[in-house]
Subunit: 354 residues, 4 copies
C-alpha cells in the first residue's frame, strides 16, 4: 500500500510535465561571456522536413537550447503539391511562439545547390523569399544585402563529396574574399569533418555544429547518455538575439556533439577549467596522495598521456567526482591531453590538474 502511494506521486509528475520546460544543460559560461546552446540548421514541412515549425521550438526547449534557426530549403520543396511555397512560413509561425517561450529564434534559410558550391545557411536574414534566385551567386548577394551570417553546410557530405573530404572551390574562395562567408559546419547530423577546423583557422571563419534534423528530434537522438544533438556553443556578451549575432560574426563558438567538443584553445581552455575543479588531498599514505576532481558539466573528459608515475589516463565522467591516487614520486605538474576536446584538425587540448 505504501508503495503504491509513493509511486503514484511519480505518476503525477509524468502527467504534468512534458514539453513546457527547458532542460538545464550543464555547460558553464566562460569569463566575460554567457554560453548559449544553439542549433542553426533544421527543417520542417515547409521544405523536406516532417514536422511543423512549432515542434522545432518545443524540441529546442526540451533539449535546453537558447537559440535555433529553422532553415528550410529554398530550392527543394518536395511538399509543394500540398503546401504552397512560402519561404518565410516557419519564421512567421515561430516568431511569437518562440518569444513567449524565451527562446531566441533566428530567421534563416538554406541555399541548396550541387557541389560546388553546395549548401549554405543564411542566418539573421529579414526575408528568405528575396534570397531565392536562379543564380546561386545572386542568392549569396541577396543574403549579404540582408546582413546574413553565411554558413557553409556539411562540406564533406558524402552525397556531394563521396570521399567525405571537404574541398574549397573557387566559389568558396570568392565568397571569402568578398567577406560573405562566415562559418562552416564541423559537425552536421552524425558526421564531422576534421579539415573544417583548418579552414576556419586559415580563413578566420566561425566553427559551427548543427543537427540538420528532418524527423522529430526524438527519433534521431535517443534519451541515453551523451546522445544530445550537435550544438554550436556561442559565447555571447548576454543572452539576446543581438549579442548572439555579434558573437557569431566575431567567431566566438565551440561545437559540441555526443562526448566531443571542438573549438579554438582560447575558448576550450577556459571552458574546461570552468567545468573542472580539483580538490585538496583528502587522504594520504606512505606512497600516495588521494584527491578528487569534480566535473560539474554534462561532458566527460578523457585525459591521456599523463606524466611519469601519474595515472596514464583519467576519465572525468560528466557530473561526477573522480578520485585520483597520485604517487608521491610525481613532482612535475600534472599535465594531460584531453582526448575529446579538439583544438585543431590534429590537436587536442592540453591542460594541467592543479
Amino acid at each position: 500500500m505504501k508503495k503504491l502511494i509513493i509511486i503514484a506521486l511519480l505518476v503525477a509528475s509524468v502527467a504534468l510535465t512534458g514539453f513546457s520546460q527547458r532542460k538545464i544543460v550543464n555547460l558553464p559560461d566562460i569569463p566575460g561571456f554567457v554560453t548559449l546552446k544553439c542549433d542553426f540548421h533544421m527543417h520542417t514541412v515547409f521544405s523536406d522536413g516532417d514536422v511543423w515549425p512549432t515542434v522545432r521550438i518545443d524540441e529546442a526547449l526540451r533539449d535546453g537550447l537558447d537559440a535555433i534557426a529553422i532553415t528550410d530549403h529554398l530550392e527543394y520543396t518536395p511538399k509543394e503539391d500540398y503546401i504552397p511555397i512560402d519561404f518565410n512560413a516557419a519564421w512567421k509561425i515561430g516568431e511569437a511562439y518562440a518569444k513567449e517561450r524565451n527562446l531566441i529564434l533566428v530567421h534563416g534559410t538554406e541555399i541548396t545547390r550541387k557541389m560546388p558550391p553546395g549548401h549554405f545557411n543564411a542566418l539573421f536574414i529579414t526575408d528568405a523569399s528575396l534570397i531565392a534566385k536562379d543564380s546561386v551567386w545572386d542568392s549569396f548577394e541577396a543574403a549579404a544585402k540582408q546582413g546574413a551570417f553565411l554558413q557553409w553546410n556539411h562540406p564533406g557530405w558524402k552525397s556531394q563529396q563521396p570521399d567525405g573530404i571537404p574541398r574549397m572551390y573557387e566559389v568558396h574562395q570568392k565568397l571569402i574574399k568578398n567577406g560573405w562567408l562566415n562559418g562552416i559546419e564541423f559537425f552536421n547530423d552524425n558526421e564531422y569533418y576534421p579539415l573544417v577546423f583548418s579552414f576556419c583557422k586559415q580563413y578566420n571563419l566561425t566553427l559551427m555544429g548543427n543537427s540538420d534534423v528532418h524527423d522529430a528530434i526524438s527519433e534521431v537522438y535517443a534519451g541515453e547518455e551523451n546522445s544530445n544533438r550537435p550544438m554550436t556553443l556561442v559565447f555571447a556578451k548576454e543572452r539576446s538575439h543581438d549579442s548572439l549575432k555579434e558573437a557569431m560574426f566575431t567567431g566566438r563558438t565551440m561545437v559540441y556533439f555526443r562526448d566531443m567538443l571542438a573549438g579554438k584553445e582560447e575558448f576550450a581552455k577556459p571552458f574546461f577549467y570552468r567545468c573542472i575543479s580539483v580538490g585538496k588531498p583528502f587522504y594520504q599514505n606512505d606512497k600516495s596522495i588521494f584527491f578528487e576532481v569534480t566535473n560539474k558539466s554534462d561532458i566527460p573528459f578523457y585525459l591521456t598521456n599523463g606524466v611519469q608515475n601519474a595515472p596514464a589516463n583519467i576519465t572525468l565522467s560528466a557530473n561526477s567526482v573522480t578520485r585520483v591516487v597520485l604517487s608521491k614520486k610525481v613532482t612535475v605538474p600534472l599535465v594531460y591531453d584531453v582526448k575529446n576536446v579538439l583544438t585543431g584538425e590534429n590537436e587536442v587540448l592540453k591542460i594541467e590538474l592543479r
Copy 2:
C-alpha cells in the same frame, strides 16, 4: 566512417569509467550547513545480505552518497555455516577502503527482535560484539554505553505490524524516557510510515530514511529518473564523521526517496528555496506576464493549490526551467502547497514564488 570515429570515443568512456567515481547528486546545502547524503541501513554476507562489504562502499560512491552505515543483524546470521560470526567484520573490511575513497563509514549494527520492540540500528558504535546480548534491554544498554545513535527501523513493517501502522509500546516509551532512542525510519526500502513524522515531532526524534538493502543496489533501484534509493539528508556543520554525528543527535535531517522529501519546515523551507530561483519576467502581453522558475535540484516539485487566476498546479521538474504564464489579474502573493514535500504527518510545505 566519421560516424564510427565519433562513437568510438564514447566507447572509450564506457571502458574507462565505472565504479571509481562519485555521481554528483544535485541537492543543495542550506544556510549554515552542508547537506550530507546518507544511508544508514544495509546488509552484507555477514548477516542476511548477498554482497561483500566493499560492494556497499562502491555502490554508495556511485550513488553520490557521503556517508553510510553497514548494519548487519546481531541475531540473524543465516550464513554462519560458511561464514564464522564476526559482528564487526563489515566495519573492519570497510574502514580503510572507505577512507581511501572519501566516504564516511559509520560503524553500526542491527538489533533484531520480534515486535515489540522490533528492529533497531545502533550507529556510531565502537564494538558491535558487545551489543549482542540475550536480553534486548541489555543490548540497548550496551549500545547506549558506546554512545550509540539508536534508530528504530521500519516500525510499520508488515511482517511485524500486519496493518502497516507503527505503534509505540511500553519499551519504546521507556527507551525515550532514558534518552536512548534517537531516530525512527520514515522511509525504509519501498515503504513509508506517515505516523512516524508525528512520533518524531512529539518525542523530538530524528527522521530517518534508509534503503535496508540486501541485494546489490543495482538490482533494486534501476537507473531511471527518480529511482534513487531512500536517503537521509543530514545537515552537518562540515563534511566529517563527527559533524555528521552531531547533526544526527541534534535532529537536523530530512528524508528523500524517489520524488518525495520529508522534514521539518525549518529545514524543508530553506532547502526548497535553495533549489528554486524565480527569474524576472522575460515577456508580457496585455493579459499575462511570462517568467521562468529554475529548479537546479534532482527533485521535482509539484506545486498545487495556486491562488485565484494563477495556474492551479505547476510542476517544477528536476534540473529544469519551467515557464509560468501569469494573469495580470493576480495581485496577491503566489503561494503554493508543495505536494511532494511533507512537513508533518498530514502537512505539506507551503511556499511562495517571489
Copy 3:
C-alpha cells in the same frame, strides 16, 4: 582493443537500422483468426497534428502495427493559413507509401462536433470531402453512404464530459437505431472509459482502442516496458484490408494499452490461452510440486484470487517463464482471476492453469 572491435559492430547496427523495419509485437493469433494490431485514430499537419502523413506510417511500422487510419478533423483545421484544406490529403500521400511497406492504410476522417454528439471517426471511406457537411447528421449520412465504419471517439473526454463519464444522448440512440454506429473507443490516448464496455455489449458495438496521437509517437510513448500506444487488436480471417473491415464490422476486437487488455470473453479466453503454456512439474518434494508457466506474449498477466493453499497472486511477466510452487494439498483446479484482462465493465477474465 578487443573490446573496441566488439562494440564497433554494434555501432554498425545503429547506423544501418532505423525506420525501415517492423518490430515483432508478440501477441498471438487466436484459433481461426490472425491478430492484426491497429490504431485507427491519429492526426497530421492536415488538421491539428504536427507531422507529415508518412511519419504516421513509419511510426506504425516501427511499432509493429498491421493497419492504421489517419483521421484528420473535418471541422478543425488550424493550419489552413499555410496548408490549403484537402480532406483526403493524408490518404493520397500515404496510400502508395503504405502499400510499398506492407502496412494496411485505412481511409478515414474525423467528424468533430461539440457533445452531443461529440467526435466520430469514419473509417473505410472513399472520399472524406463528401462527409464535410454543415449538419452533423448529414455527415453521418454521407459516411454511411460510403459504407463507413463509424467509431464514437473518447466519449468520456473531460473537455466534453467534465466528470469523465460517457453518456448516450438521443443522437447516439438514433445512430444505433439506423445501424450507423459501429464502434466506441474504450482506450483513447491515456484515458479509458469503463462504461464503454457496457455500451458495446448492450448495443452490440465494436470495442476500440486508439492513440489519437498529434505529436510524434516517440514524444508520447517512450521506449520503456509496457509503454506501447493504445491499440485495437482485430481478429481477421487474413491479413488484408477487406478481412480487417469484415472483422471490425463483425465486432471481433480486443483493445490493448500498457499492461491492460479488454475484450469479450470469447476473444479474451482463447487469446490468454495462446499466450500461456503450463509445463509439467520439473521437481517435487514432500510438500510441494514445482512447475513453470511460460508467457510468450508482450503482455504481463496478473493472476489473483488463487484457491486455498495455492499462491494467492501470480504475475506472469511478459516474455518470461514463471516458476510456481504448489502445495500438494491443492486438489481443486487452479483457477484465477486475471486482473488486467477486462471482459466487462466490472469483470475480469477467469482462467485455469492446467
Copy 4:
C-alpha cells in the same frame, strides 16, 4: 483519474515480479538439438567474487540461462581471513537452490596459475577440494580423474599475455595429447580472442564463451539492447545435466556476446536459418519486388557483400521484420556474408535469402 488507474496496474507488476522468473531469450533450437544458454565461468565470495552463490543462480534465471557453473579459484582466496576455505561451498549452497528453480548447476572450479599454463575451469567435477594441488599438473590429473571437462580460460588475457595474443605452450600441447583439454574461451568478459577459433578447429576443442563475472551481473551488463553477458550456446539432445555434458564433450557449441555469434559452420548455418524466414513478395512494381525477412531471434544479423543490383547491406534487426526492395534485374541467388556470425578466425557465415 483514468490515467492513474491504468498506471497503477503497472506498479503492481513492478511489486510482484523480480527475480523469480526466467526471461525468454529468443534463440532457436537447431534440428535435432535444443539450444541451452550457458555461462560456465563466475565467482562468489568463496574466492574473489563479491556475491553469495545463490545470487549467481538468481541472475542466471533472470538472464534466461539454462545452465551455469560457479568456478571459484582454488589458488586465490583473498577473503580467507573472514571465510574459511571450502572449495565446494558454492556447489553445496547452490545445488538444491538451482534444482528448485529448474536451472542446471554444473559443479566446477578454477585452477589459477601464471601463464603458462594460465587459468582453467574444471567442469562436471565431483569434489573441487581434491583438485587443489601444489603442482598444476597434479591438479589437471585430479580433474581428469573426476571426468572433468577442462576449459582453458581467457588465453589472451592481457595480464598474462600483454599483447593479447593466445599462445600454445608445451603444457597445453601435453594436455591436448593426453586428451585432457576440452575447450577454450573465445569470449571472456569484454574480450575475445580470434585465434582461439583456429586452436579449436586444429585440435578439435570446444568453443566457449563466458562472463567470468565477479560483481553482480547487473553492474556489468546493463539493461540495454545487445547488452547480454557472454554465453556458450550448447546444442544438447535434451535439457538435462547429462545431455549438456555430452554435447560439450562432443563440441556442439556456439558462443554469443552482444551482437556477435561464433561457431562452426555446421551449427551457425542451421542456427541462422532457424532465426530467419523470408516472406513471399507482398508488392511489386515495374522495377522492383518487395518482400519481408523476419528475424525472430534476439540477435541482429548484418548482411554484407550483396550480389550486383541487390542491396549491398541488409541489417536484419533482432525481433523485427525487414523490408527488402529487390531490383528485378537480379536473377542470381541472393547470397550474403553475415558480418557478425564468425565461422572461423577470419571467416564469416555465408548465407542465401531464399
